[in-house]
C-alpha cells in the first residue's frame, strides 16, 4: 500500500491528500434539505447529508489526487449513523482507487491496540470466517503508550500490506506542551521520531516504510530535523492552508527524491465554495469549487520543487 501511494503520487505529480472532515455546517443547504426531507432532522439525516456531500467531492476530485483522509471524529459525533457514513465513504473512495488514510488517532496497549488494528486495517475472525470492519489502507496512531501500543498495529499491517502514520509533532498551537519538552537535550518529538524510524525498519516497502509519521506543516524547522531522523518514513503533513502552513514551508518535509511527504488539506478543499476566492461557484457547484481548489493546491505545492 505504501508502494501504491508512492506510485500514485508520482503518476499524478501530486503529494496531496484531501481530508474528508465534513462538518454539517459545510454541507450546502440543498444537500441538507434533501437528506432531512428523506430522514428528518435526525442522526440518519445528518449522516446522509455528509455522505452525499462527500460523494460529490470524491466524484469531482478522485482523478487528481492519490489519497483521501477521512477524519473519523467528524462521523463519530453522529453516533452509529455517522459511523455508517464513515464506512460508506471509505468503501466509495476505495472503489475510486484512492488510498484511504483513516485519521482515527487510535492507540492503546497489547490486545486492545490489536483490536483497533484489526478493526481498521485487518480482518477479524468470526467462527470460520474473517471480516474487515472498516478496512482503511492506513491509520493514524498515537504513540503515548510506547512500543506495546504500536507493535500490534505493525503486526496487523504486515499481514495486510497496510500502514500507519504515528503522531510525532502535531500542527496545533499547544502541541509543544509535551511534544517539545527536552529530554536529554532533544525534544520529545525527536525521540518519538527515532522510534518511528526504528519501528519502520520492521515493515519496509520498496523505497519507503509502511510506518510513517504525522508532522504539522505549521512547524517547518521541526519538519527539517524530523525528515533527517526518519529518512525512510513518509510524513503526513496536516496544517497546510486553513491552519497557516505555506507551500514554501513544506520543502523541508520532502526528501531529495521529491518524495517522502504527503500534504493534507481538509476545509481548504472540501469547503472551498465558502471562500471568497471560489465564491463564484456557489453552493450548488461546491464540488467544482473543491476541484478548482485541489488543482490550485497541487500547483502551489509543485512550485516548491
Amino acid at each position: 500500500m505504501i508502494n501504491k501511494l508512492v506510485s500514485k503520487i508520482q503518476k499524478l505529480n501530486a503529494p496531496v491528500v484531501v481530508g474528508l472532515d465534513p462538518m454539517l455546517g459545510y454541507v450546502p443547504e440543498h444537500i441538507q434539505k434533501a437528506a432531512f426531507d428523506e430522514y428528518g432532522e435526525t442522526l440518519e439525516g445528518a449522516a446522509e447529508a455528509i455522505w452525499q456531500y462527500n460523494k460529490g467531492i470524491v466524484d469531482a476530485i478522485h482523478d487528481l489526487i492519490p489519497a483521501v483522509k477521512p477524519q473519523i471524529a467528524m462521523y463519530e459525533q453522529f453516533g452509529i449513523p455517522g459511523m455508517i457514513a464513515f464506512k460508506k465513504t471509505v468503501d466509495y473512495c476505495k472503489e475510486k482507487d484512492l488510498v484511504v488514510i483513516g485519521d482515527v488517532k487510535r492507540g492503546d496497549i497489547g490486545s486492545t491496540s490489536a483490536a483497533y488494528a484489526v478493526g481498521h486495517l485487518g480482518k477479524v475472525q468470526v467462527g470460520s470466517n474473517t471480516y474487515a470492519g472498516f478496512d482503511e489502507d492506513f491509520a493514524t496512531v498515537n504513540p503515548y503508550l510506547g512500543t506495546d501500543g504500536i507493535k500490534p498495529f505493525i503486526d496487523v499491517c504486515k499481514e495486510n500490506k497496510k500502514g500507519i502514520f504515528v503522531l510525532v509533532k502535531t500542527s496545533n498551537p499547544s502541541s509543544g506542551e509535551f511534544q517539545d519538552r527536552l529530554i536529554d537535550g532533544r525534544p520529545l518529538y525527536e525521540h518519538v521520531g527515532e522510534q518511528v524510524a526504528k519501528w519502520g525498519e520492521e515493515h519496509m516497502g520498496d523505497s519507503y516504510s509502511y510506518v510513517g509519521a504525522v508532522v504539522g506543516a505549521t512547524y517547518p524547522e521541526m519538519g527539517k530535523v524530523l525528515r533527517k531522523v526518519m529518512p525512510k518514513s513518509f510524513i503526513l503533513v496536516p496544517g497546510y492552508g486553513a491552519q497557516g502552513g505555506t507551500a514554501e514551508g513544506l520543502r523541508p518535509y520532502f526528501n531529495e527524491d521529491g518524495l517522502g511527504a504527503i500534504v493534507n488539506s481538509s476545509r481548504g478543499i472540501i469547503a472551498a465554495y465558502k471562500q471568497e476566492k471560489y465564491s463564484q461557484f456557489g453552493p450548488e457547484n461546491y464540488a467544482d469549487a473543491s476541484r478548482q481548489a485541489t488543482i490550485d493546491m497541487i500547483e502551489d505545492i509543485a512550485s516548491i520543487f
Copy 2:
C-alpha cells in the same frame, strides 16, 4: 456525574469498575452458538454474542459495583455491528444505574476533539434537534496533543456534567518509553499529571474534579507521587489482577478519605469462569462466576483500608 460516582462508591463500599472488554474467545460456547444460529458466523453474529455475554454479566453484578468501563476497541474490531453492540451495552448499563466510563482513548485538536467529545459525552445539533451519539458518562482521553486537545472535552463536559480520565501513566510494560523520560528532572507523566490538576480546577464537583487520570496499578511508586500531584483528581487504575497489580500496591492511589481512586478489572471478572479458582461454575454459569469474582475483588480491595 463525578458526585454520583463518589456517592455510589461510598454506598457500595466498592471503589471498583468492571471492564467490559469482551473478546469472542471469552464468550461461552452456548452463547456463541445461539448468536451464530440466528445471524450466522458474521459480524452481526459476533456482535450479538458479545452483547448477550455482556448482558449476562451486567445482570449478575450491577448491584455490586458503581461503574463499568467498556473498552470500545473490542467492539470496533467488529465494524458497524460491533459499534451497535457497544452502544447497546452503554445504554443497558445506564438503565441499570451504572456509571459508564467509555474507554475510548480519543484525542485530537480543536474542532476534531470537540467532535469526539460531542459524540461520546455531549449532544450534536442536527437542524433544530440535538442527539447524543454514544452518551457515556466519562471518557478516557490521550494527552499527547496538549491543552488544545483536552480543552474541547472539558467544555463539553461542563455543559453535560460529564467527565474525562486523562492517560497519565499507563499500565503496560513499555509505558516508560516516553512517559518516564525526564524533563527538567521529573518524568513526563508528572508533567502531564500537573496539567491534569490544572485542567481539573476548571470543572470541579463537590469534592473531586470531573477531570481524572489513568495511572496503572503496575506502578505503585508512581501512583504515590501522582496522588500528591493531582489531589482532587480521581485516579482510574487499570492493571489490577491479570496484568499483575496487587491490592497491597493500590493503597497509594487513594487519598486519606479512602476515596480518589477506582480500580478496574476486566478479564479477571468477565472471564472469571475460565480461571481455575472459579472453574466450578462452568461456562453455563459464567455470570455467576463473574459475580463471585467481583465480590472477591471488592473484599480484596477493602482489606487495604
